[in-house]
């Protein structure tokens, strides 16, 4: 998360709402370890990453939904056990569990 703090601070000083997604668990093969973090602001600008580009697009949609609905933080899972609806997976075949929340703390 260290590497995205400057972007987050800049967005927040511009009065933008920000959500942060953090990798909390990887099962099987995964490109980034727990702690990998990505921030998304209300305009859809992104800092950092949580995978090798496999799930970032879906994470942006989730983060924007959380900001838009002003919802509490929630767990999101990507991988081969996904609902068909999500249809987003890691090309390396692992499962990635993320916690996405608004930065309101």
């Amino acid at each position: 998360m260290r590497e995205i703090l400057d972007d987050i601070d800049r967005w927040r000083s511009d009065g933008k709402k920000v959500a942060v997604a953090r990798v909390v668990k990887i099962e099987g093969s995964g490109p980034r370890d727990p702690g990998a973090a990505m921030a998304v602001n209300e305009d859809g600008e992104v800092a950092g990453s949580v995978s090798g580009g496999c799930v970032e697009g879906a994470v942006v949609s989730e983060a924007l939904a959380i900001i838009g609905e002003n919802s509490p933080g929630r767990m999101v899972t990507f991988g081969y056990s996904d609902d068909e609806a999500f249809a987003v997976g890691l090309t390396c075949g692992g499962i990635i569990r993320l916690y996405i929340e608004q930065l309101d703390w």
Binding site: K25, G30, P72, C92
Partner: protein, 272 residues
């Protein structure tokens, strides 16, 4: 004390203070946070997960994870229950504990062209870079703008003053290939628990250096086996930038214990 947990968290990270953040990610109290920082050897706890006993147990575990530099998920009951029997009839509080240790250090001895390239690559990898040379006209911030610190000093005082801050995640790269600088730098590095010691020079220079080290009493095979000399993986590169990649790749391979051959020629899990 009106600053938010996030503000305190970022202050700790920016001041390179070891800090861990515990967040409830599932179950009652989702989103609640506890921050544990280690300031002058004492744990400083901020925030609450909603129950004093849960706070007590999680801050204890978080301090342990921080000490070990680990990040991961733990399960509790809403009142801090932690044993499997206690957890049977309670909702589960899932807590993500994330440790932030200060950036690893790389000390580079010798203010040469290779130093600038190595400093740049080390910064990409997240190191805090210190360049050290006794020659004032070479060891300047202007020549090494990527360095976090440029020290005009001999190796011995540098290790005497700050060698105890080096640990297994850190690296010392000695690029001087001048025995009067190399030998004390190697001696200094061997007196620390630094994880990687690389020393630049041709095979001939390496052999001469081993002789010089013997003259000052560094002869034990265990000590000498810690030296990665000549420095770097055999990538066949020549430029300072290519050499910097060969050095950093060696540091990574030493840390992970992997073989540094092409994945094409190996099998088994890649991320293990």
């Amino acid at each position: 004390m009106s600053s938010s947990i996030y503000q305190q968290f970022t202050d700790y990270i920016r001041s390179e203070t070891p800090v861990a953040l515990a967040t409830i990610i599932e179950g009652p109290g989702t989103g609640a946070k506890l921050l544990v920082a280690r300031v002058d050897g004492i744990e400083n706890v901020v925030g609450t997960l909603g129950h004093p006993e849960l706070d007590r147990v999680v801050s204890r575990d978080t301090a342990g994870e921080l000490e070990a530099g680990r990040t991961g998920v733990r399960h509790y009951g809403p009142e801090g229950q932690a044993t499997p029997e206690d957890l049977i009839d309670t909702p589960t509080v899932v807590v993500f504990i994330e440790s932030f240790s200060p950036a690893p250090q790389m000390w580079i001895f010798g203010a040469v062209d290779f130093t600038a390239a190595l400093g740049r690559v080390a910064k990409v990898l997240g190191y805090r870079v210190t360049v050290c040379d006794a020659r004032e006209i070479f060891a300047t911030k202007r020549r090494f703008p990527m360095a976090d610190e440029v020290m005009v000093t001999w190796p011995t005082p540098m290790f005497e003053k700050r060698g105890n801050t080096l640990g297994p995640r850190d690296a010392v790269c000695i690029l001087t290939h001048d025995p009067k600088f190399d030998v004390p730098a190697v001696q200094g590095a061997l007196s620390t628990s630094v994880g990687y010691i690389g020393v630049m020079g041709s095979r001939k220079t390496h052999n001469k250096r081993i002789e010089r080290l013997a003259e000052v009493g560094v002869t034990s095979p265990e000590q000498l086996s810690r030296l990665m000399s000549p420095i770097g993986l055999d990538l066949g590169g020549r430029t300072p930038e290519e050499t910097a990649i060969a050095i950093c790749a060696e540091i990574i391979a030493r840390r992970t214990g992997h073989s540094a051959t092409s994945l094409k020629n190996t099998d088994g899990a890649i991320h293990s």
